[in-house]
């Protein structure tokens, strides 16, 4: 089997963002005054725990951003043909979770379908719940289900704890070596929380994540852990695939916002005069249009463009991807105004400070003053805005998908999941698992992001210091 790598637009931008983050981290490591606030973030238990959870989401998102197309088995060797389905490395890792489809809805951990059907039993046609094709297929009798689930959960917990213990041992060995202390002394320090970093929280969160992961793996091997949706797709799979969409919206939108907000905000505050007037005028106009309506108008326009130029996109994934990118662009264009206003105000204050005036008196060029004196001093505001905006953008996606101007309906996203499941609430018994899965995943990501953002803000915002 050979593969054709596919680089979607958002994939490319995600990896550009990753590279930029790496460069920034490298630059920060070399400067003590830049490292200090990050070290203070690392000392906060809540922020570090949240960062670990975010890390899991990010790894999944990155794996899900490496796309490829499989070569069709019956294509000629000289003229290879590739499947129109775009898969990712993450799909390959999940394996059977993607392909094991049932007929329609089934409840979490069920072994029978949600709807009754006519089935053959002992030569008779009876109306009953048919067995699932994959979920619990290894069981001979329904009574075996609960003991089997209990066994799998137990195995998962034990495996997870073992993995957590190994991770703990590695962390202990590494940190003890780094500090040049004996392992026993390190352990005592860990127990009393005197290591200078929240090692207890980190170990507990790591162990919890390992237990959760191992249990899910154990259960998913035999069941649909979160049930299946209307077309029989595994809900756990959909929820995991939606992570990438949420992360892309939360990060790429900010990437669009930053150049506009930084460039225009600082320019308005620094140059004053007509530049300030023009920029203020532009952002008041943009701000005065209700955000949802502006996004809706722009998305409708993008939709018309995509529909009238179908030849530009060779796969459905590429089409959905362009729409996602357009959504990020549009949300970025509508949301830069808040940060720009903040930066303008801060720059107004900074430009009157003595060192800036001195630089100007020495004849330092505007570009150099902006780059060396103004920008580094407003950078903390930019950083705080990035982390604070992230969670709001993830939540906004769900609302926009409901309005019908969110991501492409074929794309996996929590908004689309909620939208699809909303109408099924009227069923009896109700189909709750899709909604709950989408809300729980979204809540976990947003809560982790919010807690991390709080840590970052407390560490970077001088006004917050000494007060909580």
């Amino acid at each position: 089997m050979t593969y054709l790598p596919v680089v979607l637009w958002t994939d490319a931008l995600v990896f550009v963002l990753l590279a930029a983050g790496a460069v920034l981290a490298w630059a920060i490591r070399r400067q003590e005054h830049l490292r200090a606030p990050w070290r203070s973030v690392a000392q906060r238990p809540m922020a570090m725990g949240a960062a670990l959870v975010l890390g899991v989401f990010v790894v999944i998102g990155l794996l899900d951003s490496l796309h490829y197309r499989e070569r069709l088995p019956d294509s000629a060797p000289g003229n290879p043909q590739y499947s129109v389905e775009v898969l990712s490395v993450f799909d390959a890792l999940l394996g059977a979770l993607r392909t094991q489809k049932e007929k329609t809805y089934s409840a979490p951990l069920a072994m029978q379908l949600y709807a009754k059907e006519f089935i053959e039993r002992d030569g008779e046609r009876v109306r009953d719940y048919p067995r699932l094709q994959y979920g619990g297929a290894h069981l001979a009798h329904p009574d075996e289900r609960l003991p089997d689930i209990a066994r799998r959960v137990l195995r998962g917990v034990v495996e997870g704890l073992a993995a957590g213990l190994i991770a703990f041992g590695l962390v202990a060995a590494w940190d003890a070596r780094r500090r040049r202390v004996a392992l026993a002394a390190w352990l005592a320090g860990w127990r009393h929380g005197t290591l200078g970093w929240p090692a207890r929280t980190v170990v507990v969160v790591l162990a919890l994540l390992a237990v959760l992961g191992a249990t899910l793996v154990q259960l998913a091997a035999g069941y649909h852990v979160l049930g299946t949706d209307k077309v029989g797709q595994d809900v756990l799979y959909i929820s995991l695939k939606s992570i990438r969409t949420g992360l892309v919206i939360g990060t790429l939108t900010t990437l669009v916002t930053l150049p506009l907000a930084i460039g225009l905000g600082i320019a308005a505050g620094y140059f004053r005069g007509w530049v300030d007037d023009v920029i203020q005028y532009v952002y008041t106009v943009l701000n005065s249009i209700p955000g949802v309506l502006l996004i809706a108008a722009a998305v409708l326009i993008v939709q018309v463009y995509i529909e009238s130029n179908p030849e530009l996109f060779d796969t459905a994934a590429a089409r959905a991807d362009i729409r996602l990118l357009a959504l990020c662009l549009i949300m970025g264009v509508t949301s830069w105004t808040g940060l720009a206003r903040l930066l303008r105000g801060e720059t107004l204050k900074l430009r009157t400070l003595d060192y800036v005036e001195a630089a100007r008196a020495f004849g330092v060029s505007h570009a150099r003053i902006l780059g060396r004196h103004i920008f580094p001093n407003v950078f903390h505001l930019v950083l705080i805005a990035i982390v604070l905006d992230f969670s709001g953008l993830v939540l906004a996606e769900a609302v926009l998908s409901y309005v019908g101007v969110g991501v492409d309906p074929s794309m996996y996203s929590w908004g689309n999941m909620i939208n699809g499941a909303r109408l099924e609430l009227a069923r009896e018994p109700i189909v709750w698992w899709q909604l709950v899965a989408a809300f729980v995943f979204m809540f976990t990501l947003v809560l982790a992001a919010n807690l991390f953002a709080d840590g970052v803000r407390d560490a970077f915002d001088p006004r917050q210091q000494g007060r909580r």
Partner: protein, 325 residues
């Protein structure tokens, strides 16, 4: 004072013109009437004649900016820009795709929107301020930390969840209130309670946390130390001095959203079946009724600018120094 207000009013005019030009560009230049017709007619029925007919029916068969066939002033007035964009300044929005007059729709739908949005605003403000004051009163204790964590948790829950959970538990499972719908007059109360409750609860997280920081900022000021130094009990300092001074940024910050309450909330109204402007807008977006979307963009921008002017006035009223600049 009058000169100041006049200046702010004059400043609003170029912004409204900017909004108007932007919507004109978005809806008629980037996305031409031909595109709209194609989208509305659907892929199967697109013929050049059908597009022309659709454009004639909706009055989009004129040139964009300059009509060279007409005579005199009609060269400027018999155009799409004048008839569909400039006319909005006179609040003439034309007709939607369903043939109804948009202006009449807006007037009849403002009431229900306001019936939901106003209680959410007032009750929400009271609840958030009380919650924030409580946290500040017990500041730096476990109660405060717990309150802040609760706020972050509440903030992290999707707004859709509050609506769906409220509808499911309160309306469907416990049968306390109707799931959705609306009635005229006083009978509407039972349709209003649930949306208001959901609206207030979903706003607590971010609101209370924000007000808490405002009060905490206030508490570090000199007058609070003076009040304590002269022996006032902590409760009196907080509820008398800090509350009053903290209300200034809170209320002036809230003024800007006051006019926008007319627009209602998109999601709440559409979930609860309230015949307000929010559900009107959402229906228009979903039906791709550009005339209505355009009208709502203009109305929203207009109300926002009214809010900005009110904010400026309230600031200058509270703090006379602003006026002199």
């Amino acid at each position: 004072m009058h000169a100041y207000i006049l200046r702010r009013l004059l400043y609003a005019i170029p912004i409204l013109i900017g909004v108007n030009l932007l919507t004109f560009t978005l809806f008629f230049v980037v996305n031409t009437p031909d595109d709209m017709a194609r989208l509305q007619l659907g892929a199967k029925h697109v013929t050049p004649e059908a597009i022309e007919r659709w454009k004639t029916e909706h009055g989009y068969d004129r040139p964009l900016l300059l009509n060279r066939d007409a005579a005199g002033m009609a060269q400027l007035t018999d155009t799409i820009f004048f008839r569909h964009s400039a006319a909005m300044f006179a609040f003439e929005f034309g007709k939607g795709d369903d043939g109804r007059d948009i202006g009449t729709e807006i007037r009849t739908r403002m009431g229900p929107s306001l019936a939901i949005a106003l209680p959410v605003f007032v009750i929400g403000l009271l609840v958030n301020i009380s919650f924030a004051l409580l946290m500040v009163f017990f500041r730096a204790s476990y109660l405060d930390v717990g309150g802040v964590v609760l706020c972050v948790v509440l903030m992290s829950i999707s707004g859709l969840f509050y609506i769906i959970a409220g509808q499911y538990f309160i309306a469907k499972l416990w049968n306390l209130l109707p799931i959705s719908g609306f009635a005229d007059g006083i009978a509407a109360w039972k349709f209003i309670v649930l949306p208001v409750l959901v609206g207030v609860v979903s706003g607590i997280g971010s609101g209370a946390r924000w007000y808490r920081t405002i009060f905490l900022e206030e508490i570090g000021k000199d007058y609070v130390r003076t009040a304590r130094a002269k022996g006032l009990p902590e409760a009196r300092v907080l509820f008398h001095h800090v509350l009053k001074n903290g209300m200034i940024p809170i209320l002036t910050g809230a003024v800007v959203v006051l006019p926008l309450l007319f627009m209602g909330s998109l999601i709440t109204e559409s979930f609860f079946g309230i015949p307000g402007l929010g559900s009107y807008t959402i229906d228009a977006i979903q039906a791709q009724d550009f005339a209505v979307v355009r009208a709502m963009v203009f109305l929203g921008a207009f109300l926002y600018i009214v809010g900005l002017i009110l904010t400026d006035i309230s600031y200058s009223w509270v703090d006379p120094r602003v006026r002199l600049q």
